[in-house]
């Protein structure tokens, strides 16, 4: 009963934020009623309608970025049995960023750089999985290899940024994460991939439920833990690589959303999945509104805001959890 209450509150909050996201922006602020009317009945040559339509695709992108990162974080935490894991532990973020910068360095333009960034993220994941497989694909091996490779790739990233320096120009915006320029095509692509990923996760929800009992007991009940780990991390890598290619790295959502979900609805996988989806969407669409409001006519980097919102939330939850003797 309490769970349903939380889920309903989350849903109402999300829908409110979605309306605000259509209404608020640097160009002009509408009332939510105006924004919806413009979308539904506005003349397509009307500038105001065009603005609201851009915000619509942006809001959909924000939702999908949030959902994708949150569910990826959730399944990676469940698969690794580690609540501090986040989807970027698989090396995807610096991998995608390196791909993006290489594309720029070689003069490849839009939309090829997205493709190279996506492939960079997947390549980093494939490297992590291959090396961790030598150690038997245990969760410890995955975490250690992922962390080590992420640091190594981040160092290369720093060197690349240093060398490319002045050439980067506006491209630097991507490195800080942004969905300000997300087109209709990109939003649609994101939606399709995230939704297909969700279906795939939902199909495996039984085995992911069993994993609450840990690797040994799940295996003893017939769950093929190794195959699950491989297929589900691959799903997460695919989603997160695409998100990172489109929006740049967006930090903390994959870690924070599943946490908020656990504290509010407990550890049942089905409930966690639903709650993570909504909370992830709330975090990113909310942050994307803040990005537009506090910059004073300029948009701030998205990842700075998601982390600024996510970190205090995580701190609050862990302190609260400790008082209740839960951690």
């Amino acid at each position: 009963m309490r769970h349903m209450l939380y889920l309903s509150l989350f849903l109402i909050l999300y829908m409110t934020l979605f309306l605000l996201s259509l209404s608020i922006g640097v160009y002009r602020v509408y009332t939510p009623f105006e924004a919806v009317s413009l979308l539904l009945w506005g003349d397509s040559s009307n500038v105001d309608r065009a603005v609201v339509e851009l915000r619509l695709w942006r809001s959909i992108a924000a939702t999908m970025v949030g959902v994708g990162l949150a569910v990826s974080g959730l399944i990676i935490q469940r698969l690794l049995g580690n609540p501090m894991a986040d989807p970027y532990i698989l090396g995807i973020s610096p991998g995608a960023a390196l791909g993006y910068l290489s594309a720029l360095a070689f003069g490849l333009g839009y939309p090829v750089w997205y493709l190279v960034a996506f492939l960079g993220g997947l390549a980093a994941y494939a490297t992590v999985i291959s090396i961790a497989s030598i150690a038997g694909l245990t969760s410890l091996a995955l975490i250690v290899v992922g962390v080590a490779l992420s640091y190594a790739l981040s160092s290369l990233l720093v060197i690349a940024i240093f060398l490319l320096g002045p050439q980067l120009g506006l491209a630097i915006v991507w490195l800080f994460g942004t969905i300000a320029y997300t087109s209709k095509t990109e939003s649609t692509l994101l939606s399709v991939v995230v939704l297909v990923g969700l279906v795939f996760i939902a199909v495996n929800r039984g085995a992911l439920t069993a994993l609450l009992l840990g690797e040994e007991v799940s295996k003893a009940m017939g769950v093929n833990v190794e195959a699950l780990r491989l297929s589900m991390t691959a799903t997460a890598a695919f989603i997160v690589s695409l998100i990172t290619a489109v929006s740049g790295p967006v930090g903390f959502v994959g870690l924070t959303a599943p946490w908020v979900a656990r504290v509010t609805v407990g550890a049942s996988f089905n409930r966690l999945l639903v709650a993570s989806i909504i909370v992830g969407a709330i975090l990113v669409i909310g942050s994307d509104i803040i990005v537009r409001v506090v910059g004073g006519g300029r948009e701030l980097p998205l990842t700075a805001i998601t982390s600024l919102v996510g970190a205090p939330l995580l701190l609050y939850l862990s302190v609260r959890g400790r008082h209740a003797g839960r951690l």
Partner: protein, 246 residues
């Protein structure tokens, strides 16, 4: 009394010349035995290989030799067995119902975690965080979850550890009751519990050194040889005093 939570067709377990090697160390060496239903207890000192044997039976450890449960290879028999580890550290936010739901992951909606709690008289634990339970409650929830899967073979690792006397009796009664219709294999480090079993195996340094009915196996010289202490030493400060039959 246990309808729906206990099978009425226990199955045979056959283990032939099983050896387990973990990183160049042989932890189980040439173990062979056979049971036809009922309750079997393996005793032996810490580190002797009891848990290793249970994990082999659970199909989660590589071995050489033959392990057959209900006529199936251990790995294939996994869906017919339920394994209860000595201790389970769950997600700090996991509720008791969440743990039961995880045990029932492939049973679907045919069985509700709340029914399981009700059946085992554990309704008071509803909504409690699993990690905050007492040792006895922790054990009872795990055993309840494992039984709710209606297994043909139940594997219990240290079912009596962390339990007070009342809970030991409670768990012992439950295990006896279930063993009428389900094959149970348990690992216990205290020889005391061997007396409730139909068959007892003694494991020492990875070898099965004795196997048979409790009164044939649990003898003074065998225990003194395996555990390396005299019964007088043990009895000095121990509740083994209450087991004169030893």
């Amino acid at each position: 009394m246990l309808e729906g939570f206990s099978n009425s067709n226990p199955c045979d377990i056959r283990v032939e010349d099983v050896t387990v090697k973990v990183e160049d160390t042989i932890v189980l060496r040439g173990v062979s035995f056979k049971v036809e239903g009922g309750l079997t207890a393996f005793i032996g000192p810490n580190g002797a290989g009891k848990t290793t044997l249970l994990r082999v039976l659970a199909g989660i450890l590589d071995y050489t030799g033959v392990v057959s449960l209900c006529g199936l290879d251990a790995r294939r028999a996994r869906r017919l067995t339920s394994y209860v580890p000595a201790y389970l550290q769950a997600d700090p936010y996991a509720k008791v119902e969440d743990v039961l739901e995880a045990y029932l992951y492939d049973v679907g909606s045919s069985r509700d975690p709340l029914d399981v709690l009700r059946f085992f008289g554990l309704e008071r634990l509803r909504g409690r965080r699993f990690n905050s339970l007492s040792g006895g409650e922790h054990k009872l929830v795990l055993i309840a979850g494992a039984l709710a899967r209606n297994p043909r073979v139940l594997l219990l690792d240290e079912p009596f550890s962390h339990l007070d006397i009342a809970n030991q009796v409670k768990v012992a009664k439950l295990i006896r009751e279930v063993s009428r219709g389900t094959t149970i294999v348990m690992a216990v480090h205290e020889p005391l519990y061997a007396s409730i079993a139909d068959l007892v195996g003694v494991i020492s340094s990875g070898r099965l050194v004795a196997f048979g009915r409790p009164e044939e196996v649990v003898k003074r010289n065998m225990l003194e040889g395996v555990y390396g202490v005299t019964l007088e030493e043990v009895a000095l400060g121990s509740r083994l005093l209450v087991v004169p039959s030893l």
